[in-house]
């Protein structure tokens, strides 16, 4: 029994969360540092996982398996494939930046009763989310995954509802109302999704008799477990619904703008860059592996929805007046790309989708965090309240521009690679959809550049004239992300090498092969 690396990776932040929460009220800064150190240690562990993972090895590696709830056929089964490794790395990578960026977001405004410890709570919750996200990436037991898929809602819920964006237009009461509305909306949407998935999970148990992803997938493959077509489709829909809410896919998206708009920038990053990835990841891992036929059956509908998400999200982003809501809608558009890539059922599409998850995580983090710094300076989320920032805070503007360019997936930056792969992959099988989706890149340019123009350029608004440029802490947050965007844009090979084998596996699960080029097909 070797060292349970995966368990450790998930357990460390969990323990860290408890420890952070236990820090006495007065020792606020200590809590922050503790949380930061824990997240860095987790990152270190994630790196170890990354190194120990052998792309050409078995499909699931570093596996752990223990009996857990026999009666439910549930085992504590962990294991990672390339996709999971990439996303674990992403998560572990982003959390330190989130913590650092949110350094002052949870400082209590006024000293309440000594028992009230918002700061400790804030960072503890972030770590808790990290732990749950990581383990749900690692879980190869459907039930185990489901448990944390659901459980992570609770800390997220408190993060959204408990620590709102202080730069809120309107009175405190209004802000609080908005905030709890957003939090409740987030929770109910995802809970509803989760509960419907619960029904499907139970159904899966009734059909399969256990929850082990590998066993079921294997049984599906060798035909020893065949589901009635309708059963499979219902179960698929049950699972997919939950993931589509989380992802989010049009028309289940409306919780995201509220959640991202009302929460602090770091939490918004946590939502869109980390938590939502679980949804797309789960589509790739569970929907496709457990229900290949049903996935194929649903593909056309899903692709159309994804397409709508892409265009619709982009158009709404153009129409937003609120910076953070704009980014939220942009994310909806991007999630459309990811889902499209997954269900295009081509190697390029799925590799692209996986890269997209990582790249979107980084680029949104960069853009959103800088936006957060901007907002925290001016105290407003409205685009109209800014102008000419570039003149007074050139570095801030510069980083913001890079973030925007990444969001419109400019070649040379990481998102381009994934977006193009998704488009090519989709085009190869569904040319029309691929072409329509391509219009998304024009709209992306529109909303990002409009945002940049309205906020950063033009004559300097008096309110922003005294705006300080990025502080060292903030630069420490942004610079590595930007560097990463460039590196992964120029040399994504290390990432693709990890991801490709896993994607090939998934392709074989759904018994799909890439369409041959016409020239070869002709021969």
């Amino acid at each position: 029994m070797s060292f349970p690396l995966l368990t450790a990776t998930a357990a460390l932040p969990a323990i860290g969360a408890i420890a952070t929460a236990a820090v006495p009220a007065a020792r606020r800064t200590a809590a922050k540092w503790l949380a930061l150190l824990v997240s860095l240690a987790t990152l270190a562990l994630a790196v170890v996982v990354l190194v120990r993972f052998d792309p050409d090895g078995d499909r699931y590696q570093l596996t752990e398996s223990h009996s857990w709830i026999k009666d439910f056929g549930v085992r504590y089964e962990l294991g990672v494939d390339g996709i999971a490794v990439a996303l674990i790395a992403l998560t572990a990578l982003l959390i330190p930046f989130v913590i650092l960026a949110g350094w002052h977001d949870a400082d209590p405004l006024e000293t309440r009763s000594s028992r009230w410890r918002p700061t400790q709570g804030f960072f503890a919750l972030i770590l808790a989310v990290e732990a749950m996200v990581i383990i749900s990436f690692e879980a190869t037991d459907v039930f185990l995954f489901y448990i944390f898929f659901e459980a992570m809602l609770i800390p997220m819920y408190f993060l959204i509802g408990g620590f709102g964006d202080r730069a809120h237009a309107g009175s405190d009461e209004h802000a609080a109302a908005q905030r709890s509305y957003a939090a409740v909306k987030f929770l109910l949407y995802n809970l509803a999704g989760g509960l419907i998935m619960l029904a499907a999970v139970i159904g899966l148990y009734v059909v399969a008799g256990n929850f082990s992803l590998q066993e079921i997938a294997a049984a599906r493959a060798d035909g020893s477990l065949d589901m009635a077509t309708n059963t499979e489709r219902w179960l698929f829909l049950g699972f997919f619904f939950a993931f589509a809410v989380k992802a989010p896919l049009w028309p289940l998206h409306t919780w995201l703008p509220n959640a991202m708009g009302e929460s602090t920038a770091p939490v918004a990053v946590l939502i869109t860059a980390v938590v939502d990835k679980v949804g797309t990841f789960a589509m790739l891992r569970f929907c496709l592996q457990l229900f290949p036929e049903a996935s194929e059956w649903a593909t056309p509908a899903i692709l159309v929805l994804a397409l709508i998400s892409i265009i619709y999200g982009a158009l709404l982003a153009v129409g937003q007046r609120d910076i953070k809501r704009l980014v939220a809608y942009a994310s909806i558009s991007h999630f459309g790309f990811i889902i499209m890539g997954i269900f295009a059922m081509t190697s390029q599409g799925q590799s692209g989708a996986t890269l997209y998850m990582v790249n979107h995580g980084i680029s949104t983090a960069a853009l959103m965090l800088v936006a957060g710094f901007l907002i925290s300076r001016r105290g407003s989320r409205l685009i109209a309240d800014y102008g000419g920032v570039q003149k007074v805070a050139p570095v801030l503007a510069g980083t913001f521009l890079v973030g925007s360019l990444a969001t419109l997936s400019l070649p040379g930056l990481a998102p381009f690679v994934s977006e193009f792969l998704v488009l090519v992959g989709t085009f190869a099988r569904y040319p029309v959809i691929g072409i329509i989706a391509t219009f998304g890149i024009v709209l992306a340019a529109l909303y990002t550049l409009v945002l940049y123009q309205r906020t950063m350029t033009g004559p300097v608004k008096p309110e922003v004239s005294a705006m300080p440029d990025l502080k060292v802490r903030e630069l420490v947050v942004v610079a590595p992300l930007i560097a990463l965007l460039i590196v992964l844009g120029v040399y994504p090979k290390p990432l693709t090498d990890i991801v490709n084998p896993a994607v090939e596996q998934t392709m074989s699960d759904v018994q799909k092969t890439d369409p041959k080029p016409d020239v070869e097909a002709a021969k």
């Binding site: 998206h253 709404l316 153009v318 690679v417 193009f420 090519v424 085009f427 219009f439 994504p492």
Partner: protein
């Protein structure tokens, strides 16, 4: 030796990185760093050129594979370069003109506190442009393609505090994005057709697929070219792009970037050769644009906008030539190079004029400047003679060949295209003469501006005039150097192949008519602007003139259809999202609450009514049980 190719790109890229990340501490030396690295790149290019000349025509194309960029199952994108005669031509043009303009900018941007960043952007542009012309596959070309777009965005909007500049920059980027749409779709088509998008395999395999596919690819590439090279219908951004500093207009929006479209088409020659329809469309676009640009050029009073119009129309010539296929490719490139020289020269001249006139751009406020800035006058004048195709100067050789080729296309098409090209030549002569006269001849028309300080026209510093002189040399002799003995044709033939075209009316006839229409144009302009004084405020002018002043209403069209329509669309979508999509959910929640409110009324607190419900329940239970048995 081949490994130097990467350095071509690396040098300016390094410059960009250093200058942009360097921070204020580099302000003092920034422009020197930028200029040196640009020049370094030129030197490397020259070395490679010498090396290339050393080899015989067949073995001149060399390549360098750096690393595998995006390796995914069935999808291989490499970072690899290919340097053949075509690329080399561009390398020399880009680095050469680029370096000159760096030098020019040292003086021109002297008083701008953000000069370091300006040079950073310029270097960034050089790097991207070189990547574009050196890439050995379409995806990498796409990177350069968007890279130059970015650089152009940053430079047009360099004076960001001016809303007009910021808007122009955004517009340029967006319109280009529409073009990029074409490029990416073309790449996707190539991938699904050939399973690759590297130049070599694709262009060799064109024979193996249907004409339909190739036409589609060709048209998509053309769309891309239209975006980048400001061809109708995507030309609207170029005029606004003049908001950028003049060196930028000279380098990017005259000499190099805007010609990328031509490069793309010539580079993809095999595809177009196999897709006549695509070629036809290309020629039409070129013909339309060359007239369009020329007409716009006639109406503009803003010197830069006038020159922009002329750029548009000159590139129209190139596209037209490129659309003609093997008989035109070489001349497209040749005109591209000569145009690079004289148009850059003209822009630098314009910049020099503005420099002396407190950045006044309205030609109606100029007049008689030849006395005040002789060097500018001479260089500008030479450029002017070159562009109107004065016999012996470069423009003459290249443009004449294109017109010839157009006629040589044969059939009615040939006649139409040819005569359009001729007409364009006449108009060119007209508007350039107009610019010349309004700027340098006649009596001075400038007054003190609103702040009361009257401009004191003066010659520009050496750092500005020297590049102008060099470019003037180019404008004078390049054409001859290339044209005589078809030197340029032989140079490019191995890459683009060349078939000699025979115009129905004979080459000399074409040449003569070219010269005559040129004379006519000049004369007409002289009658209108040379003989009588130019009014300081523009007369209302004919309908056509007014339309032309507004870029033939193209922007108005865009505004009404795209901008307005888009705004309405998004606004209504926001509404829909809020009321409909969100409303459904909130509605369900609300109705739940309502139902709950009604149901709890049953709980009225009276024990007897509870008993009633129990009694009824019992009755139901019994009834149901009996029923179950009954059925």
């Amino acid at each position: 030796m081949d490994n130097l190719i990467a350095l071509l790109v690396a040098a300016p890229l390094l410059g960009a990185a250093v200058l942009l990340c360097g921070g204020r501490r580099l302000d003092a030396v920034g422009h020197w760093i930028g200029t040196v690295l640009a020049a370094a790149s030129f030197v490397i290019g020259a070395v490679l050129f010498a090396d290339m000349l050393g080899k015989d025509a067949e073995h001149r194309a060399v390549g360098q594979h750096l690393f595998s960029w995006i390796p995914v199952e069935g999808f291989q994108a490499d970072v690899a370069f290919q340097l053949d005669q075509l690329s080399m031509t561009f390398v020399l043009l880009i680095t050469g003109v680029g370096s000159l303009i760096h030098v020019y900018s040292i003086g021109y941007m002297e008083h701008d506190e953000r000069r370091r960043r300006f040079f950073g952007y310029l270097n960034l542009f050089l790097a991207a442009m070189l990547l574009l012309v050196l890439a050995d596959n379409y995806l990498l070309l796409y990177v350069g393609w968007e890279g130059v777009g970015l650089a152009s965005y940053l430079l047009i909007g360099f004076w960001q505090h001016k809303p007009s500049a910021a808007t122009a920059a955004k517009k340029a980027f967006l319109v280009n994005r529409v073009g990029d749409l074409g490029l990416s779709i073309a790449i996707m088509l190539m991938f699904t057709t050939f399973g690759t998008f590297a130049f070599g395999p694709v262009l060799e395999a064109t024979g193996e697929t249907g004409e339909g596919t190739l036409t589609a690819i060709g048209l998509m590439l053309l769309l891309a070219a239209c975006g980048k090279s400001a061809q109708v219908p995507l030309q609207s951004w170029l005029g606004d792009a003049m908001e950028g500093p003049t060196p930028v207009s000279a380098l990017i929006h005259a000499a190099t970037m805007v010609t990328a479209g031509v490069y793309l088409i010539v580079r993809s020659g095999e595809i177009f050769n196999a897709a006549p329809d695509a070629q036809l469309v290309t020629t039409v676009v070129g013909a339309v644009t060359l007239l369009f640009g020329a007409i716009v050029g006639c109406a503009k009073d803003d010197i830069k906008k006038a020159l922009a119009g002329s750029t548009m129309s000159q590139i129209g010539y190139m596209i037209l030539a490129a659309g003609l296929g093997p008989i035109g490719y070489v001349f497209a490139i040749m005109h591209l190079v000569t145009h690079g020289f004289f148009k850059a020269g003209l822009f630098l001249g314009a910049g020099s004029v503005m420099h002396g006139m407190n950045d006044e751009v309205d030609m109606r406020r100029y007049g008689g400047l030849r006395k005040y800035m002789p060097v500018t006058f001479v260089t500008f004048g030479l450029g002017y003679l070159a562009i109107i195709g004065f016999p012996g100067l470069s423009g003459f050789f290249s443009k004449d060949k294109i017109i010839e080729a157009a006629f040589a296309k044969g059939g009615t098409e040939g006649w139409i295209l040819g005569s359009v090209a001729l007409l364009g030549a006449a108009v060119t002569a007209f508007y350039m003469t107009r610019v010349m006269l309004m700027t340098f001849f006649g009596e001075k028309r400038w007054q003190p501006d609103e702040r009361g300080n009257e401009p004191h026209p003066h010659e520009s510093p050496k750092s500005m005039t020297i590049p102008m002189v060099v470019l003037a040399f180019g404008s004078v002799f390049a054409g001859g150097f290339f044209g005589v003995g078809d030197r340029f044709v032989h140079w490019l033939e191995p890459v683009t192949e060349h078939t000699h075209g025979h115009p129905p009316i004979g080459a000399t006839a074409v040449t003569l008519s070219t010269v005559t229409v040129m004379v006519v144009g000049v004369g007409l302009a002289y009658l209108l602007y040379g003989r009588r004084p130019v009014p300081a405020v523009a007369p209302r002018g004919s309908l056509l003139t007014r339309a032309a002043r507004r870029d033939l209403l193209q922007d108005d069209f865009n505004h009404v259809v795209l901008v307005r329509g888009g705004e309405h669309l998004t606004r209504s979508l926001v509404y829909v999202d809020h009321t409909l999509v969100d409303g459904v959910v909130n509605g369900t929640a609300a109705s739940m609450g309502g139902l709950s409110g009604r149901l709890r009324k049953l709980q009225n607190g009276y024990a007897r009514s509870y008993a009633v419900s129990m009694f009824g329940g019992a009755a139901l239970l019994i009834a149901a049980t009996l029923l179950m048995r009954a059925v």
